[in-house]
Symmetry: C2
């Protein structure tokens, strides 16, 4: 590789998958974006690392033992395998169901949500800025590699998104929603909207379609964002059967 | 206070609630355990801090401006309010529904799970060792203070737990479970068991009662633990209505 690898920077053209399983998914689903695979010597021989090496051979991708580089950049992450990949652009499927996250700020939540989406058959995520960088290695890691099977597109505003994707059934999840989740009969293709971790959705979102709440006790202010998304996507999938 | 406050240590007799809302819940629900409240000067005058101060006055609890102590111990946590409290023992309600976490290892997950429990009317958590320390300030914070309304008791093994709490309807959540979640009719008082974040439950748990799975696509290995618990508790609550 001709450039010196640096700590992740959101302005950089490349990012990292940390760990065996995220890197296996990178090699399986986005191999055209892989620049190189770095390995630590002590991992070689383990089943996961052997799978990484055989995928590299099969797809003609370079891999190198680079203990010093991995320790310099990712000592804290305690990993044997690093995938270096070029960031890529994605678009959303027009006929697909979409999840919209408005201003998500926590990398762990967004990664967990992407993993949950894949678990319940959602492949298209719209992210309204400002928001976390989905190529942040902490998102990749929390997604367990699911990021590489999901389409993500950023928009400057919800209006920009809805301008591109009109005529959809819209469900906005908010504390003061009009309908209780279990009473909703979802139409498709749909757009499910969730707000920021601490602020939720502004009341203006209740006018965009159906506003929906998840019933919970008044002893908590709200559910954790990734838990709320999990409950909704699970219910969506059960209702669709 | 006669001792010098130190960074949190799981062997210490006291712990910390970091942030306004967890500390308000500490003062509301476990005021008898509070040793002292520490505040940063710049927070005084905000609504949250004023609520903390008025709760302290109402309950006769000392509060002090201690910018230097807070910066020394919790600079990274960026907080104006710290509650110092003595750890306490709890027991589980015999007739109540219980959640059992076997060897949970992630503070954020456990805190989020406790918050979700409170949201869905579960007040009793059994934790099988080895496991995270529920008084770790990161658990308190992720629970958003919900910890102070939930009973938590540690056991050396599941057998120790079931020896104390026999004759309950037991549901073990695992990938190879026998029943799909939506087909289960929960009996009460029940015990819902979830495994460790990376390993799940051993197959021996399937013999303890009903083994249950949450249907998801094969594109992911498993759901995130706190997402899985959220889906199950939500479904439990919906089914009980």
């Amino acid at each position: 590789m001709e450039y010196k690898l640096k700590k992740y920077n959101k302005k950089a053209k490349y990012s990292y998958s940390l760990g065996t399983y995220p890197t296996i998914d990178l090699l399986k689903y986005r191999s055209e974006c892989v620049l190189k695979i770095l390995l630590k010597r002590e991992g070689v021989g383990s089943e996961g690392v052997d799978t990484v090496i055989s995928l590299c051979k099969q797809k003609g991708i370079d891999y190198e033992i680079q203990d010093r580089v991995i320790d310099r950049l990712f000592l804290k992450e305690n990993t044997y395998v690093v995938g270096v990949f070029e960031k890529y652009d994605m678009d959303l499927g027009r006929e697909k169901n979409h999840l919209v996250l408005v201003n998500p700020s926590n990398t762990g939540n967004v990664g967990t949500i992407i993993r949950t989406m894949l678990g319940f058959g959602f492949y298209d995520l719209s992210v309204i800025k400002p928001a976390v960088d989905i190529f942040d290695p902490m998102v990749v890691r929390a997604s367990m590699g699911s990021l590489f099977q999901v389409n993500v597109r950023y928009f400057e505003s919800y209006k920009d998104y809805s301008g591109c994707f009109a005529n959809r059934a819209v469900y906005a999840f908010m504390l003061g929603g009009k309908y209780e989740l279990n009473s909703v009969e979802f139409k498709t293709p749909c757009t499910l909207i969730f707000g920021n971790e601490s602020k939720g959705l502004d009341s203006e979102y209740s006018d965009l379609g159906n506003s929906v709440y998840i019933e919970h006790s008044s002893e908590i202010d709200s559910l954790n964002l990734s838990v709320a998304v999990g409950i909704v996507l699970n219910r969506f999938k059960s209702a669709a059967r």
